[in-house]
């Protein structure tokens, strides 16, 4: 599966707004292309100037360090011109402003916009108003496609494939765009997905997405190949979803005792940032034999390079029609 992907395989989308709707082949194209960049990123010379002359704008309506830096590096290593545009949350409360911002930026002829926004659907709305390619860097509780791709790449490189794996996702599912993107990606690729959380953190009808819900973490983890832990997104919580951190950790924090129900070599993943002692025990998080949390970050840059490159290939050479 390594970088032997023919360059002529076509990725038939202008934007990358989410994983939902992508076919297994399309996901595979992105993952395969990422592989090559993993090797490139480990060399002293990390650049490959395929985006020379292209302008990439990171438009982040929500605070981010990890994802923004990752996209920034990805763009630079491909030789693109990268601009970061952090936008304060106060200026985006009105829908009008989002579209105005999009129109303004569009007039500057960017080639790729990477957008993160606190409201679900905002990135799609913006994508409808611009001529360039748009990558969703996370919209509200909806999708975070590059996170799911980097998780998949991490798993694939460790285990060799995704089909047939049993993956547990535990934590604040209801607010998590990472969970939704991962559910779409993993089920599309033939993995079995289990969700583990108190019922208040499980969105209604989630079973319709082809997952199984577990109330008991030990049962949910049983014989899993992968354990993905999610952060409690207290900043998105309106009111009280669980009684206390200590009760949460007691029932849903990943420690060695609960983890012993998973397969002995099960991998532990976390999209970060971690809250040690809340959803994950420090020892488990730092277990170099099990935890692939740092590897996920590394894969993130490669995946974002692949996404930038793939979408850029689909761009017209000159300024042409609108989307």
């Amino acid at each position: 599966m390594n970088a032997a992907v023919p360059d002529n395989v076509h990725f038939p989308h202008r934007h990358l707004l989410g994983i939902e709707g992508l076919s297994p082949d399309e996901i595979t194209i992105l993952l395969d292309r990422s592989e090559a960049f993993v090797e490139q990123n480990r060399r002293a010379d990390k650049t490959k100037l395929v985006l020379h002359g292209r302008t990439i704008i990171n438009l982040f309506f929500e605070a981010s360090t990890r994802t923004r830096t990752s996209f920034e590096l990805a763009g630079m290593r491909l030789g693109g011109d990268v601009i970061n545009m952090p936008v304060t949350t106060s200026s985006i409360k009105k829908g009008e402003t989002l579209i105005d911002t999009a129109m303004t930026l569009n007039a500057m002829h960017p080639d790729v916009l990477v957008v993160r926004h606190p409201y679900s659907g905002a990135v799609k709305l913006l994508s409808e108003k611009v001529n360039c390619a748009v990558i969703n860097g996370g919209d509200g509780s909806h999708e975070h496609p590059t996170q799911a791709l980097l998780d998949a790449l991490t798993i694939r490189r460790r285990i060799g494939g995704l089909a047939g794996l049993r993956v547990a996702i535990s934590g604040d599912i209801v607010h998590s765009r990472v969970a939704r993107s991962n559910i779409h990606l993993l089920t599309t690729m033939g993995a079995t997905v289990r969700l583990i959380a108190p019922r208040t953190l499980i969105p209604p009808a989630i079973e319709k997405l082809g997952v199984e819900v577990f109330d008991d973490m030990r049962e949910g983890l049983r014989d899993c190949d992968i354990v993905m832990m999610l952060r409690l997104q207290t900043e998105r919580m309106q009111g009280n979803f669980f009684p206390s951190i200590s009760e949460y950790f007691h029932f849903f924090g990943l420690d060695y005792e609960k983890l012993s129900n998973a397969k002995p070599d099960a991998l532990i993943m976390h999209p970060g940032p971690m809250n040690r002692g809340v959803e994950i025990d420090s020892e488990v998080a730092d277990d170099i034999g099990r935890s692939v949390i740092r590897e996920q970050v590394e894969m993130g840059v490669a995946v974002r390079m692949a996404c930038l490159e793939t979408l850029s290939r689909n761009l017209d050479d000159g300024d042409a029609d609108g989307g």
Binding site: P198, T200, F241, F242, H250
Partner: protein, 440 residues
């Protein structure tokens, strides 16, 4: 005690043995060995008492599992001048109650593990009725933030309720049902819309109007019932309504059960044996929460018990001291004691021809036990010997001053009732015997 001398074996002979859980209602006997039931059944000891066991001749009276009372306010810790675990325990023993589930509205509130353990430890030490606590749904019963239900359940809380306060915020109730469902726990709601009930002293209607008292409309009950039925359907949790008092609420639960909603409910003796006329001339002992309702509601509650819509009868024991009741009606505290009258008043359902005896007893034993996930309230070999022997026919008149409860606020004061507990046995030990010889 005599039991010890005979190797701890007690033979109950010549009994009318009733066990609603297994459907037994026949002449028979029962043998206890130390703390447990060694044998029981129709025809047992028909040929005479066994060798080497103390013999109790039941005289043809009813021998059945001890009652399970799932709605009791203990007042300890915090308000020991109104009631204590000990006073409630003695009162329960006299009433034939061998298991009590207590509301968390103590001071401190049962919203943390240490209070759960305190209640359990105190009750064990007393050796009277077994006491299981409800945990609080919300911290401090404030109706805002969820209490640590998972941890409290691990410590021994059998279900969750905010006691005499409704969880009134719909979002909090939704989250509570949803969170509790993670652990398979039941939420017990006090079904009363607090804003509609605010300031009311009795049922809203003609009597309240004549007496010049602010009323609590029956709608306050059914509004919460209907709302919570929707919420439990949405969340997939388990819901229980305490002390239903209105026809509308009973009907709402009946319809919900017909469409397989996971709901159960109980009522208390005042709501099927009394109506709002008991308030009479501002009798504060008849000031209850929910308030006594019109006769049509009372009849609907009886109907609900008969057809199984109402799963259980609980005493709703709510001790109030004299200072809290000897006040102008509007200022007096809500609540009535009920442990010692639970059985006799409930037997009225049988004596008045509404239901077979075994069905009345079902709603006082295994029925309520099942709702809180306890295995008590039934006869089983090897199971705890929690039993009562009662005279089904003997009449007596409730005199509040004669009751063992520390507080005397019985809404049934002065009422004639029929059915008297002769003996109450907990873990094989007699803890009450009629005729003044109160063991313990």
């Amino acid at each position: 005690m005599a039991a010890k001398k005979n190797g701890g074996r007690v033979a109950y002979v010549n009994a009318r043995l009733i066990d609603p859980a297994s459907g037994i209602d026949a002449a028979g006997g029962l043998l206890t060995e130390a703390e447990v039931i060694a044998d029981f059944g129709p025809g047992l000891f028909a040929g005479g008492a066994p060798q080497g066991a103390e013999t109790v001749d039941c005289g043809g009276h009813v021998l059945c599992p001890g009652l399970v009372d799932i709605r009791v306010q203990l007042r300890e810790p915090g308000e020991e001048h109104k009631g204590t675990l000990a006073s409630a325990g003695r009162s329960a023993a006299a009433g034939g109650i061998t298991t009590m589930v207590c509301l968390p509205n103590t001071d401190p509130v049962i919203d943390n593990v240490s209070v759960v353990e305190f209640v359990a430890r105190r009750a064990r030490k007393l050796g009277l009725a077994k006491v299981y606590p409800y945990g609080a749904v919300t911290k401090g019963l404030q109706g805002k933030e969820l209490a640590e239900m998972g941890t409290l359940a691990e410590a021994g809380a059998v279900a969750f309720t905010d006691g005499v306060k409704a969880v009134s915020d719909a979002l909090v109730m939704r989250r509570a049902l949803s969170y509790a469902s993670t652990f398979g726990l039941t939420i017990v709601q006090h079904p009363e819309e607090p804003r509609l009930a605010d300031g009311g002293a009795m049922n809203s209607g003609e009597t309240a109007t004549r007496l010049g008292l602010a009323g609590i409309p029956g709608e306050a009950e059914v509004i919460i019932v209907e709302r919570d039925l929707r919420l439990v359907e949405m969340t997939g949790g388990k819901l229980h309504f305490g002390h239903l008092s209105t026809a509308a609420a009973v009907e709402a639960v009946r319809r919900a059960k017909a469409r397989q909603v996971n709901v159960a409910c109980d009522t208390a003796p005042p709501y099927f044996a009394l109506n709002e006329t008991a308030v009479g001339d501002y009798r504060t002992f008849a000031k209850l929460s929910p308030p006594l309702r019109p006769e049509a509601d009372r009849l609907a509650v009886v109907e609900g018990i008969k057809d199984g819509t109402i799963d259980a009868i609980a005493s709703d024991h709510a001790p109030q001291d004299e200072e809290a009741k000897r006040l102008p009606f509007a200022q007096a505290a809500f609540g009535g004691i009920g442990l010692e009258t639970l059985l006799a008043v409930s037997l009225g359902l049988y004596h008045n021809g509404h239901m077979p005896l075994i069905e009345v007893l079902r709603r006082l034993t295994c029925g309520p036990a099942d709702l809180v996930g306890l295995s008590v309230g039934r006869l089983s070999k090897g199971g705890p010997a929690d039993l009562i022997l009662f005279d089904l026919e003997r009449g007596w008149k409730v005199d509040a001053d004669d009751l063992l409860s520390k507080s005397k606020n019985s809404p049934f004061d002065g009422c004639p009732v029929q059915g008297m507990v002769l003996r109450c046995v907990i873990d094989g030990r007699p803890v009450f015997e009629a005729g003044g010889s109160k063991v313990k």
